[in-house]
Symmetry: C2
Subunit: 240 residues, 2 copies
DNA sequence: ACTGATTTTTTGATATGACCATAAAATAAA
DNA sequence: TTTATTTTATGGTCATATCAAAAAATCAGT
């Protein structure tokens, strides 16, 4: 007896509905933006009850595969790929105290280093233009003499997201977004504000952009890692 | 008008139930393994209908926070943190064709390199013992003259998971598991089997373990990266 | 008293039907 | 043509009934 049989657990009927619809979405029978039939129609198509259909739709909604609206012309619409489920699953790990700021920061450092390196390898002229545009609006913001991180952090996040796009790996993009979304609260709580620090932060971004423009992957990686490391050290000090 | 107000969308009532229960789990009011009240009791506690409670439980179940059983003493039990939601969200990205083998492999290479490096920094004697135990059972398996990858891949995966544990970052563990789970199908389909390749693979693992034991992070990283790179190149060639 | 079958009981799974809330679309009024 | 009103399709919520699963309690036979 060397074979392993799978436990024979009869599928719950809502799960059957989920599987069918998910398969249809993935294989492209239903395209992004299109509407699923109404709950009543689905109920008849699957020959089941409305409650079952609703449980299935709830699950699909939380998987980020459909979004549901009420009213005439409402219903479940197929959503394009979405990083929210990934952000959520990271968030759960954090809230369950399995993942600390230290873990997040280490993971982020690894990704930002890699992303910058890849970006430096891949970037074309158009990509460079995008990065510079973000830096310009960040510079403009600094001119207004801000007294907090909030707006700057948004541009900072956009800068890093753009780098991830240039690195051309959606897995990196999704994970980076998840980490950014979840590290935010630590920024707000533990990163002291000072104009010096703001300028320092801005300078790092410029240096990364420059290394990317000069197609110097090693430098891009090093600067990005040091950048993340620096701010992480600051936060961890204030965390104690 | 510079302020942005959040759109006032009244919470759906099932969402309220989800939020409350999730909060209770995260702040520890309900501990792992404990049972939530039955649907009927919850229905009364939240003063709502059973359907609403069931939608909420379905969502919590798919978030991996509770597992539900029927029968006497059944009901929703709190589950410990779980990498399944993360594996799922990666799987969805893949099925939606947003993530290719190339993306997976690149991400994996980055992680395995980093993990091996960290493991080499952190490993204590006990950790080394665990790694060696896995290598021994792999060696024993090779002796039996296998004719396919299946069992070896399981040990391979366990080896890498153990490294991730030694690296002591649950985010890395979760992501590595997610990537492994999803790259499996490519292994089975595109990795040709040969005894030479098997031995080659095994040797890589031994080399990584040795580098970890000698606390040589740089070497551990390099070997791990080359290891992943090699098998990735093989698969990509067969993919065309 | 132990063992194995049977019944009970708790709890989830599914089905049905009713009514409310929302929002787009159609219609009427200005 | 614009604005207010009504209509209507669709999801959101509630209540009730019955089926199915499985642990626990009971019972029967040795």
């Amino acid at each position: 007896m060397n074979v392993q049989f799978k436990k024979m657990k009869p599928l719950k009927s809502y799960q059957h509905v989920v599987d069918e619809i998910q398969a249809a979405i993935c294989e492209g029978s239903i395209k992004e933006g299109e509407k699923l039939p109404s709950e009543m129609k689905l109920k008849e198509m699957f020959d089941t009850s409305r409650g079952t259909i609703r449980e299935a739709l709830r699950v699909l909604e939380h998987k980020g595969l459909v979004s549901i609206r009420t009213g005439v012309n409402g219903g479940a619409r197929i959503q394009g790929a979405n990083t929210k489920p990934m952000t959520d699953s990271v968030a759960i790990l954090i809230r369950q105290q399995k993942v600390s700021l230290h873990h997040l920061a280490e993971f982020r450092k690894m990704m930002e280093g890699h992303i910058s390196e890849q970006a430096a390898k891949n970037a074309d002229k158009n990509d460079i233009k995008k990065l510079k545009a973000i830096l310009e609006s960040a510079a403009a913001h600094i001119e207004t003499k801000p007294s907090g991180w909030k707006e700057f952090h948004e541009m900072d996040a956009e800068f890093h997201r753009t780098l991830a796009m240039i690195a051309k790996n959606p897995l990196l993009e999704a994970n980076l977004t998840a980490v950014h979304d979840n590290i935010q609260i630590y920024f707000h709580q533990y990163l002291p504000w000072s104009e010096t620090l703001l300028n320092d932060n801005f300078k790092d971004l410029c240096d990364i952009a420059a290394a990317v423009e000069q197609k110097d992957p090693a430098a891009a990686r090093r600067i990005a890692e040091e950048h993340v490391e620096k701010f992480n050290a600051l936060m961890e000090k204030n965390l104690e």
